[in-house]
Symmetry: D2
């Protein structure tokens, strides 16, 4: 599963990856005040304090307690407080109540992180090579898990700030715009029996396996993401009140939640404004639309006379594209317009997660891995929708062509957007 | 779409089908008291009064108002009261409040049915052949729609009666049992590129089209349904409290709804009893288990070391089986044990709807048909699970190999059950 | 407690009262269809079937089972089904689910009533005089209890019909109006130490006792009820959106329940219409306003520069008035305008229950009577408001000057209205 | 309304009171970490941050904006964020969402307090004597308002900490106990026409006026509060599951909220433990029971064969007692056992608020004061219960014999307890 040639390389890489990922968690919370770490704005989200502690607990529960038989945590209750959903590991603190806790304090949680880091680094430094090989998968899961929570820290804190009439600014950023945005081209993709799933030798999640065959019809995919400007046309064409465009459950959510625009948008007079991590500002028409649900993406696609791609079509269409894009490393924390025209499919990676028309389901032959760490993916394979490609809050070291993200049909607080597809006539 | 050879045949068949289906609705409500027609036991269900009126309104709205320009309904408010979810047709009475209405009375609704029947028969008798051909699809949708509501009348009234401590008996029936039930055989099915979807010339629903190719791995399918006896083993092995067997949403439903057994089951002392349309009686071990949700079916399959079939596997496996089984025409209104051993796959049709592992989604190339009648299927293609094969409350004239039924993951009031499948090693 | 002079009188009176009250229950359900008996339009209300059975069960539980040791009910489950809230009597069927039952049917319930009636009449005919004396209180509670349920049958069925777009008519009635309505006079009442509570020798409820002293300031009371016309002025003066007029909980209910007018009112164009037991018709300005909550009555009183009377003021003010009015025996089932001018306080009894400014609380020295029948009043003495005077759905044989009715602050489905009071300057 | 003899005295007293009360708010938050200020543990409670800001906003809204025409707040949005329920002042931030805000930070709120303090002190220093007299009531309301919020800060933070499995300690305190607790004596109080309400010349709340007469029967009142030990007897005698002891709404809350003991109590093995501001520890039998609702107090009184006193009885019984007790100035933040036996009524003031049997209602002749500050009391006079006497979280400078506190029947997070009363036989 790893192609490093010798022990030294492996040890060095693990130490380097560990330090890089762990430090990045601290870097993205630098702009926050202590008070910001405490808030849980909705049941789906978690306080930043909790994310920082939970990602440390993960290494404690799945690595340190295994490799150090006498391992003693800073506080026995941390396991109860910072477990998320690993029911096989033991009782958990009720998730929607995470925002009711003020202790341990941020300072104490940072001390906890430091404590865990030191133990993990001791292990990485001292273990012999076969032991490192044995725990490589757990280390990789731990680091990828932390990267997922880094993305959640950013989207959860955006949600926290959006509730505050003072509209705090997370980062300052020159607004990017492109008043000469290229039109969408329809790029043809050939169908037939295609192989789907991860086939490489680096880290992957269990849900990307087994590699298997699917039959695809020929289809077309849009050369770029849908923009705010295009989405405003949909709104102004009464898109939100035309039931023929919507899935039935989506229409029900539109009505019960009173959706009239993407999350964080507000109409002031004749103009649309939105809260961004860069503050409250006018909606920029050339940016990719984001913070839409699957239902909105699907309704938009019908309005536009097209449809969303399945996750298999997306994977087939992107199989030869380069893995570049507007990732979290750019420091934008916001999607960016297409700035230069180019051939091929643009904005495939980064910017916004792309809703597909695929329910999240196990690949043929999929088996839930044994043990608590096996709870990671399999048990969520129901009632959610697959998204592909990563966002401006995703690390470039985290995403790949076969990566399957998944959220509920009506989730809107992630950086999620729209790319269209079409059948070939 | 219809292979009748001449006008006379078509007219005669339409009249005969219409009378047969419409009369069957009256036949299945014969055992009911007036009071029974009024109750709506839960938001998902409807009162029998409403089913009888709604199926009549359907012919009024989609046929009579179109073919008779001066058509005048008995009461203008009936359209508002008895429309279900056809939002393009106009405003509807709020569904969960259907049980708050006592008028029009059952007598008035039967008069309404009679009125509609007479008009439709007038039309079928008098229209010329091209007109009959033109309205053939609407007639067929109307009749199939009524058959679906006949199944709902039975399952909804079962739910009504189950809430009543007096446990009313709908029909008397000699209990069937088989103490020498054959064990499950695993029947191998060859994979490869297979064609899926309706390819004949009779009536079909839009969701069975287009015919398209899917790639299947080789797999095995169980020779019969899971029985109550086998399901009791799962319960007694703590199946309902072992999270590793369950999808996450399923475990949440188990906890919040306090599920411990199939719907209508109750443990009295050491014995399981259940409410059936034949009254409250002991659970018969050799009968197929029914009134389980998708979540329970899925958890059971994991407990049994296997899985559910996808809807494509089900269709492929059943493609050469005969369309026979324990249907509503038998008058059992209850699933029946396998009574004779036989080769091949048994109980494929009738008895209980079989939960698949497939989310209800559009087939490649599917387009929602235009007009209000197009709301029938497409807008529900999200957040539901496909069931196959029909039940003891389904008409044999309604079901087919490509038929796709769909319900929410946690629906339990239909006659829904479990057939296992396995990957080939 | 009873001033009848000899056994014959007592026996004859009991038989006569029993037959009169029991028959009146049947009389008021005559206009109903079988389907109407089944509906429970909201958790606070009950289906007519249930009222008819419950009032019979009351005699069974508190009389027949006591006086006939071998008494056998028609069905043992009736006790479970038709007990309301007498927790000491045994388990009860969950109240908000009463509308989920279709059996026993109306016919069966009428047979149950007949069965109970025969037993009670046997008892009344055969018991010796000391036994009759002993059970007199229970008989009287049973009959008064039934009269309360007669009022509920009328208000609950009004609620049922009001939900139905067909607006069924319960009784036809010539609309009464008075375009020369006299203005409100303010009638002065002297304060000081006054005696409150029932002091006679006929039947009374425990909550009217003990007689006790209260100190009242001098005050003024309005000579008649507030009319629809006056209430419309309040509405049009933005009464429902001026928080300074409202109790805080009342304002919250206005907002969460979207109250803009009394229950059953609807504005069509520029005109107010309302559903009445006489059908859907224009609001008549000279009628007393009804179907308002305590909160609305209180807010209206503030808007009018006055206040509601306390229950003690009401009792003191009415102590010398004659017990006449528009009662259920009139057959109007609707409040009536003042038709003739007269001195003194008009409309004190009948028409509408008058909200007081008094929380329902025990009188000094009150003790809950022992036994299950003692649950009748005491345990509700919290979180409700006292109403006085009876309504157009109350029997003149049921009401008296000291009678304390009580409902929740936001209850609106009773015939409840407004009389103003004022401090003396 | 104020008996100071000259301007110097008035000015000096106002400055001294203002500094004392404002500084005390800062003193009680000293033990808190920044994170603690942010949490809102339930809709009824508020984050400490908010309390500190809201009490400052009060002076800004009702004093500074009036006396300084050019007054400019630090941030215009503070008025929206920190208004509580003064609907006449303008729009307010939705109360249950106060815990979703992290900004302004604690540091910014402390700066806001300082800013307001300086302006108020400028006003108190510079205003001429008639102006001081004119604003005396507003100043006094502001300070008493802040004292109420000081009590809420303590009870809300106790609720915050109680949710945290780490059980933070607010203050260390030697546990007080008295194993020789004197039994309850029944002290007789003479009835007749008594005067109720505030009759002095210092500050009072509008709800204590007008002084008026009530008629009381003779009664007895308990010499001390009910203890934990006595309450445990009630629990162990199945007090929580005997409906005959409970008001109907109370029993419903017991069932729906699963109450089995006072708030913060937990049974571990055979022992009762409870969370206190001094940490999680064993329940001390001689301490007054606290954190019980009105319903529990009422049920306990029935179990004990007695009842609660009305607020009028309480006021009459305490009219000659000295205003001493275990107040917030003691620094206990916890009720204390009777430590020395003494004649008369003990523990009347301080320790725990005493639930009365009186609904919170206006006194005869009460009028809501005009203007926004008039919203203070009147609009809450419905659906709540009066408590008397103050608690261990109340300032001795805040409480008096006529003081009427009020909370909902089921509120338990205040320091509320039980004193019994009895009718005279």
């Amino acid at each position: 599963m790893n192609n490093l040639q010798n022990e030294t390389d492996l040890r060095a890489k693990l130490i380097q990856d560990f330090q890089r990922v762990r430090n990045f968690s601290l870097k993205i919370v630098e702009p926050l005040e202590t008070e910001d770490f405490v808030i849980q704005p909705m049941p789906d989200a978690s306080p930043t304090r909790w994310h920082l502690a939970h990602t440390s607990w993960f290494f404690e529960a799945f690595l340190l307690k295994e490799v150090f038989p006498n391992y003693k945590s800073i506080d026995d209750k941390y396991s109860y407080l910072f477990n998320s959903y690993y029911v096989q590991i033991g009782e958990r603190f009720y998730r929607p109540n995470r925002g009711l806790l003020s202790r341990p304090t941020v300072k104490e949680i940072l001390a906890y992180r430091k404590f865990v880091d030191e133990q993990v680094l001791d292990f990485l430094t001292d273990a012999d090579e076969p032991t490192l090989q044995k725990w490589l998968v757990v280390m990789n899961i731990g680091l990828n898990h932390e990267q997922q929570h880094q993305e959640l820290i950013l989207t959860d804190i955006k949600n926290v700030f959006s509730n505050n009439p003072l509209f705090p600014v997370y980062n300052k950023l020159e607004l990017k715009e492109n008043s000469n945005l290229p039109p969408i081209n329809w790029i043809e993709v050939e169908g037939g029996v295609r192989e789907i799933g991860y086939n490489g030798s680096d880290f992957f999640y269990d849900n990307e396996k087994p590699v298997h065959k699917v039959y695809l019809n020929d289809f077309q995919i849009a050369s770029r993401l849908i923009t705010n400007g295009e989405y405003i046309e949909f709104i102004e064409d009464n898109g939100y009140s035309r039931p023929e465009l919507w899935l039935s459950n989506g229409m029900a959510d539109v009505e019960s939640k009173n959706w009239k625009a993407p999350l964080y948008w507000e109409k002031i007079g004749d103009e649309w404004w939105n809260y961004t991590l860069q503050g409250f500002r006018k909606v920029e028409p050339s940016e990719p639309v984001t913070h839409v649900s699957f239902y909105e993406a699907d309704a938009f696609s019908h309005w536009a006379g097209s449809r969303l791609a399945t996750e298999f079509e997306w994977e087939a269409a992107s199989s030869r594209s380069q893995l570049t894009g507007n990732f979290v490393e750019n420091g934008n924390f916001h999607p960016s317009p297409v700035l230069n025209s180019a051939d091929g499919i643009q904005q495939l990676y980064g910017d916004v997660w792309e809703w597909t028309r695929s329910d999240y389901a196990p690949y043929p032959g999929y088996k839930i891995p044994p043990g608590a760490i096996g709870e990671y993916n399999g048990k969520f394979m129901s009632g959610q929708i697959v998204l592909r490609g990563g966002s401006c809050a995703t690390s470039k070291t985290h995403i790949r062509n076969t990566y399957r993200n998944f959220f509920h049909h009506n989730a809107r607080w992630q950086f999620s957007g729209i790319r269209l597809a079409k059948d070939l006539q």
